[in-house]
Subunit: 275 residues, 2 copies
């Protein structure tokens, strides 16, 4: 791609950077791509960095040193994140979402790339500097949200299963107490080759009521000698206040349900974003 105009380089570099979030690109990668001097690439990067900051959805940072280069990370301001999450809370609070048994219907939101992508990016920005090796979730409903978080962090996703499967090879399998009142003994399995002792895990799931499944995932990580650097869910219930798993962060909070109108009160969790 020789002799491109600056405008063309800017478009292509913007794509390369934003499509591979949290990846360090050495400037020489772009020098070779466009056959231009490092100083030219540096000027291009400065322009991109400034424009990305103006757009308010991400940051382009320059990392100095031998392994240095330039890197894009999604980044939302507190106001933007609150606005996005409020819109999602509004969708989840619409009448007709309350199901028999008092459950809130969330499957459409939890599997929509449009919603899960921004929520995953909002979660990811808390963990860039904690360097997770992978994101862990429990099948099924949390997978899209966890995948988008993993994408923003540029790490793999590991999915725990309700049971070990022949096509996942030898497994680590634990028993854990699930249900809001820890009344049920469940099993959880992950493929042994999916993780390594000494790694760091970020746990991401769609919903927390009692917190038993999240606690199970933490126990699974202990079993595998892996450090848990955070536990994040899309929605947690206000009650019970004390979850079985400690330090659960939730983007949204289910505050209550109204059986008469069939609606639920979902709001942004005010503890989520530091003021």
């Amino acid at each position: 791609m020789e002799h491109m105009k600056r405008s063309e380089r800017l478009v292509i570099m913007t794509r390369v950077l934003t499509e591979s979030p949290n990846v360090v690109h050495n400037l020489s990668e772009f020098c070779e791509m466009f056959d231009v001097a490092k100083s030219t690439v540096s000027e291009d990067i400065d322009l991109i960095s400034g424009a990305v900051s103006l757009s308010g959805k991400g940051r382009v940072d320059t990392i100095s040193g031998a392994a240095g280069g330039v890197m894009y990370r999604s980044f939302y301001t507190r106001d933007d994140a609150c606005r996005i999450l409020s819109d999602i809370a509004l969708v989840l609070s619409m009448p007709g979402r309350l199901l028999p048994g008092g459950f809130l219907y969330t499957s459409d939101v939890a599997s929509d790339p449009k919603y899960t992508r921004v929520m995953g990016e909002i979660v990811a920005q808390k963990y860039f500097d904690k360097l997770p090796d992978f994101v862990l979730t429990m099948e099924t409903k949390g997978i899209p949200f966890a995948l988008m978080t993993a994408q923003a962090l540029n790490v793999p996703l590991v999915v725990a299963r309700r049971d070990s499967r022949a096509y996942e090879g030898s497994a680590v399998k634990i028993n854990y107490l699930s249900g809001a009142k820890s009344e049920k003994l469940d099993t959880m399995a992950i493929s042994r080759r999916a993780v390594k002792a000494g790694q760091k895990a970020l746990i991401v799931d769609d919903f927390a009521k009692g917190g038993g499944t999240l606690k199970g995932m933490c126990e699974m990580m202990t079993e595998c000698q892996i450090e848990v650097i955070g536990v994040e869910v899309m929605i947690k219930t206000l009650e019970p206040k004390e979850k079985l798993c400690e330090n659960v962060w939730a983007l949204l909070e289910l505050r209550g349900t109204d059986r008469l109108s069939g609606s639920c009160d979902v709001a942004v969790d005010e503890n989520y974003m530091p003021a």
Copy 2:
């Protein structure tokens, strides 16, 4: 965002377009965003469109008419797609992936955002003009690939479950024959509110051997009066050649396994990309 330089507009517009694939943006959206004339935005779009074509990974198309505007779609040339898929086939053919029982370990690749994103984009480009309303997959392993396909097409993802769940509301539930020799009767359920009669579905899954699960998904769609516009999997086995489900397209083909070396022969499916 008034009085920006062209270079800044190009960076921001490139992000807006590529982050919302298959979405028509009216030019007035950009006129308002930057407070510039339509002719200026048109010139910017032409520059972006040219540069995106040069990068060879997507297209920016202009749609004329009242509902017109500009739209980004991922698009890989046959050569680029083959190169990307060959690299993934190579990862899957590495020694040590053959599990007891003759299964191929694919979970890491099937849940990695890096791999599933490009595979989802490659699948999506066949279906832009067929206007699917949603992507359907069966839990669990196909979800990341299906989600990325849905993202590239800008449609929701619907996940069929092995059983209906109280937190998904009333369900459509069918029985289907699974296993390579149709030897097992399984059930499959989807939430009734996830789909509507008259819609079009694109079925996406991770693996096809006998094809029973794919056939089950097709039958589920018939039950819901929904048209299936395509059936796509990441990997299909060479044997049995005749799958229970007709017209299954696979990006990759599992040609054979070698128990002695523990390796599998995975290659790009030559029928996939029209020459």
